[in-house]
Symmetry: C2
Subunit: 289 residues, 2 copies
Amino acid sequence: MKLKIAIQGIESSFHDLAVRQLFPEAEAELVPCNSFAKVTEAVKNFNADLGVIAIENTIAGTILPNYKLIDDGNFSILGETFLTIDMFLMALPGQTVHDIDEVHSHPVALQQCTTYLQRLQPHCKLIEGKDTASEAKRILDDNLKGVAAIAGKQVAEKYGLEIIASDIQAEKENKTRFVVIGRNATKEIEPNKATLNFELDHEIGSLSNILQLLATFKINLTKIQSLPIEGKPWQYSFLVEVLFDDYEVFKEVITMLKKAVLELKIVGVYKHNLHNAMSTLHKELNYAE
Amino acid sequence: MKLKIAIQGIESSFHDLAVRQLFPEAEAELVPCNSFAKVTEAVKNFNADLGVIAIENTIAGTILPNYKLIDDGNFSILGETFLTIDMFLMALPGQTVHDIDEVHSHPVALQQCTTYLQRLQPHCKLIEGKDTASEAKRILDDNLKGVAAIAGKQVAEKYGLEIIASDIQAEKENKTRFVVIGRNATKEIEPNKATLNFELDHEIGSLSNILQLLATFKINLTKIQSLPIEGKPWQYSFLVEVLFDDYEVFKEVITMLKKAVLELKIVGVYKHNLHNAMSTLHKELNYAE
């Protein structure tokens, strides 16, 4: 049986590419959603086994609302993958850049291509849409002349559009990290990365004590974000991501950490996957539910 | 001469309310912009003296993209103010909730009111727009029957719309913090809060050492966020906010901090303003430029 995987967007979107990087096509079936909240809802309601969502980008940084969705729904992070995001301008076959007077895309994609877009004719309108792939698909479906979309190359291939400008994003080093989320933790073999969330008392120095504990045991903090605590205005929990070499030591530190913080949530324990190895979850997904 | 203050949105928007909470109306002239990027652009290009932008919310948390805009443009944070955000459903006079088949608002406002909106008739369409106030204004301008907007109470008063449902956001404790930004630092009398941004080497424990230094001198960390460093994928600077009692000690710690980190940016030194005192910037704004 195929794994059902919820993503924001449709087939050929960047989220779809991330799924394909993680799972063999024969093993994964997409559940397209039109927002990140719908993705977590689909996983929560058993309409999907897993979700794959963007969590940070080298230009825009951490997508805090998505960490919040993971936290709110008590999901587990089960893995990760990284994609290089290159943007392409595409339109119906035969159209050239001179024919275009409207460009549609996701607001972030439009923003990443501002420098290029300023070179288009001055009357060219920028229209913000839901996601990159859907906007492109609509040009085909409605046979829209004079309209272009900004999306990944794979979108043009999928919907038979013609690329009229390539690599138009301002920053060439544009990479996005995606995480796999599930309803529960799974047993990971030889993990070396973890996402944790904890609350502290309000004593000055509480946080540095905790970070010192991690450092003493060579647990390397790669990221830290304050997240709001519901019902406690201007108080924060700390979302941290760490790398470690020795899983046994990590587990012992977790045991100590539980005694040192007010509340500890282990959001995920998984493999650091900078080289984009495939997931093994389609072989072994075995929720304890 | 009036201060020109750039905001996202139009008159009577929440950003306008934040400006009015900070400056007497006679002293401040709005420069309405349709995105946060346009706000910082207006300040950068001398089309506005100051900008006022939302930076965090008790439900959604830190608005990292806005910290990034401040960082990218090397702006200084000069002050802050806090607003309670209550949402109201409004339409043309005489319309009732039973007449409404379309609700327009900013996506975040729509999301905050999901629970209420589910109670409306099933065919009611939700339409995402630019900002709360503009969507409401359009109902009046185009005499749109059957259409409601979600916005602050002040918007209904301003544009003569009728409130048909009050306090419809799911979370009652919905507060937003706004900061005042300028092109340069100003001289602040008796400040007790600061926003800093620093880079560290990659040694395990670097961050805990820095936080320990702050704690030793009773400088209280209230927030910490990893921000991406341009051109260095998956490396981060740390954005921290601190409270302190003794400004002299704070300045000495800053001197030490400069020696201990790779790069230190003092984003702002200002007064913690939880009780929403008015700004004095309209009396003394004196950029060194």
